[in-house]
């Protein structure tokens, strides 16, 4: 434990760099969020513990935790929190900070899928569901990808029959009209957010 690094200004950092992070200090450690979380038993750290770790300045431990990536946004914690902390939002904010700082756990499925979704969406301004599914199936290599695709075959066929999945999307797919304008907007939005959150 002697190598553990404490950053006494980590709470300040969270207040500045995480959306609604200023509410972390309002936590009174009652634990009703942790007890109410349907995913609770499967996390490294329940929200209440994560908030205490933030205050204790355990920066690396917090940002490399898998907890915030496990949040399913059910909002049970927000509903029950006696101090009305926006716990779900803080979880997502912490996950984003962790990713930008390169501390998110490697190979965390939610993190990986999030990146895939973002790349897929921002490329042409539309989500190409066929390509998104394929990139998810094949993320762990070709062999596993074929297995995944075979397992999901009937679902894919059903979607195709119902007209919900177009196989021709593999050839480029549909796009928005002003792609360059869309990319310029995203770039600007990111600049603004990065400046505000000191993420650049």
């Amino acid at each position: 434990m002697s190598e553990m690094k404490y950053h006494n200004n980590f709470l300040k950092e969270v207040e500045e760099r995480v959306e609604e992070g200023h509410m972390v200090k309002m936590c009174m450690q009652c634990g009703v969020c942790s007890g109410s979380c349907p995913f609770g038993p499967h996390w490294a750290h329940p929200p209440q513990e994560l908030f205490m770790m933030i205050r204790a300045g355990k920066r690396e431990e917090v940002l490399s935790s898998d907890s915030m990536w496990m949040c399913t946004s059910c909002y049970q914690c927000i509903v029950r929190c006696p101090r009305k902390l926006p716990i779900t939002h803080i979880m997502h904010g912490l996950a984003y900070l962790a990713k930008r700082e390169g501390l998110a756990p490697k190979g965390q499925p939610t993190a990986e899928f999030g990146q895939m979704f973002w790349d897929n969406l921002t490329k042409d301004g539309r989500v190409n569901e066929l390509k998104l599914s394929l990139s998810l199936y094949f993320k762990d290599g070709f062999g596993q990808g074929v297995k995944n695709a075979m397992a999901m075959q009937s679902v894919g066929m059903g979607l195709m029959k119902a007209g919900r999945l177009n196989p021709m999307e593999i050839l480029g797919g549909h796009k928005i009209k002003d792609k360059s304008g869309f990319h310029a907007m995203l770039k600007k939005a990111r600049e603004i957010e990065d400046a505000r959150r000191k993420l650049a």
Partner: protein
């Protein structure tokens, strides 16, 4: 028709609980005329429904008896029961209050012999025991009732049962001719001491007070422990009447919660500590109490009491706000789910009975007081010049324990006396 003599030199005290009684007595014993108005058929309020006081574990009936005697002996206090103040007009030094008096159907001839109750057949909810039991339609609210006079429920008026009740009374005390009355009373100052009510536990959805029979409130637990309560002082759980030796206490049930009561109700921590000692008293070494808490707020000298309870082997403390309660339909046992703060351990603990330490809600919200008075976000009265000659007392002003409520009542009596003295100096 009820005759009441009241002038601009009279102090009107609204609410006959421990605070209202105290304010009325303090003012009357200083030589002021007092009208004490109480909504229920008897004085004493919620204090009379307690089994014991903290921290000395003495019986509230003791102090209540003294206050009742002081009230009875003092000719300056006029007590109106089953009476509600519905309107207040005028200003400091010159108020007129409208008081609605509901019929009791029993007059002052009553000797409390109890023959009417024997003649009654219908059972009605026993409000004194928080509806945990039943009483006959002709009843004495509780053993130490003041005034010591029976009440007949309106539901039997004009029925053959009502006739039987009337016939059973040897003293001509049953009077079905009584009607609802409305009086106009003068007063120079008003002490508003309408007290508190337990927060509606059914609103705390994950605790299932409205779904699970073995989830009860702290005020109901007082009645279970009291020898004059519905179980004769045995701690029996509602689902199957089994002795509840393993009892969980959940603190901040509603209090300190933005979704329920914003304030800390102050008394509930010490009250639960006290109630663990009821379990200890009834079951000895077999007793098991577990207190689930955010932090124990045993204010000032109650710290000693906390330390004493903490040393009791039968009492465990779990630092955690319980997330959810489930009652096993077959066994009736209740399971508490949550994560503790000392190590973040996930638990699912089984208990015989759960007691929710519900907080204090003002019995009458500030906005419902029929006069211009200032109140805070929780509905408690706030003192200030804008209130004129109306002074809040006791739990109408804040979540207080009995000791602090009495202090508050004495203070309000002094303020009311000052107003009356001013009126007297002008009127001569």
């Amino acid at each position: 028709m009820t005759e009441v003599v009241a002038t601009n030199q009279t102090i009107l005290v609204v609410g006959g609980g421990i605070s209202g009684m105290t304010a009325a007595l303090e003012a009357a014993e200083c030589g002021k005329d007092v009208v004490l108005v109480e909504k229920n058929p008897v004085l004493g309020g919620r204090v009379s429904q307690l089994y014991r006081y903290f921290p000395k574990m003495c019986h509230p009936v003791c102090g209540l008896e003294i206050n009742q005697r002081r009230t009875k002996m003092n000719p300056r206090i006029r007590v109106l029961t089953m009476a509600e103040v519905t309107g207040i007009s005028g200003q400091k030094g010159d108020y007129t209050a409208t008081v609605k008096i509901s019929p009791r159907y029993v007059n002052e001839n009553c000797t409390a012999c109890g023959e009417c109750a024997k003649a009654a057949e219908t059972d009605i909810d026993d409000a004194f025991n928080y509806n945990l039991g039943k009483v006959k339609a002709a009843f004495l609210p509780h053993k130490m009732a003041y005034p010591q006079r029976y009440v007949v429920a309106p539901s039997v008026v004009g029925t053959p049962e009502g006739d039987k009740i009337k016939a059973a009374c040897k003293y001509g005390a049953i009077d079905f001719g009584m009607q609802e009355e409305t009086l106009q009373l003068k007063a120079g100052a008003i002490v508003w001491a309408t007290g508190w009510k337990p927060y509606d536990a059914a609103k705390i959805q994950p605790y299932g007070y409205d779904r699970f029979s073995n989830v009860i409130t702290n005020v109901e637990f007082e009645r279970l422990a009291d020898p004059h309560g519905p179980t004769g002082g045995k701690i029996l759980r509602p689902s199957d009447g089994k002795e509840a030796k393993n009892v969980a206490f959940i603190q901040c049930a509603g209090s300190r919660d933005e979704n329920h009561l914003r304030h800390c109700s102050r008394f509930c921590c010490t009250a639960s500590l006290k109630q663990t000692q009821y379990v200890r008293e009834k079951f000895g070494d077999e007793a098991q109490s577990t207190v689930y808490y955010i932090d124990i707020r045993a204010i000032d000298r109650f710290e000693d009491f906390y330390a004493k309870v903490r040393a009791d082997q039968s009492v465990k403390f779990v630092k955690s706000k319980v997330a959810k309660i489930v009652q096993d339909e077959k066994t009736g046992d209740v399971v508490l789910h949550g994560v503790d703060t000392e190590g973040y351990h996930r638990y699912a603990n089984t208990h015989d009975l759960v007691v929710l330490a519900v907080g204090m809600d003002p019995e009458v919200q500030g906005a419902q007081v029929p006069a211009e008075v200032a109140a805070d976000a929780s509905g408690f009265l706030v003192s200030g010049d804008a209130n004129g000659g109306i002074f809040g007392a006791g739990c109408a002003t804040n979540a207080l324990d009995v000791n602090r409520a009495v202090q508050s009542a004495t203070a309000s009596a002094l303020r009311a006396i000052q107003v009356i003295n001013k009126v007297a100096s002008v009127e001569g």
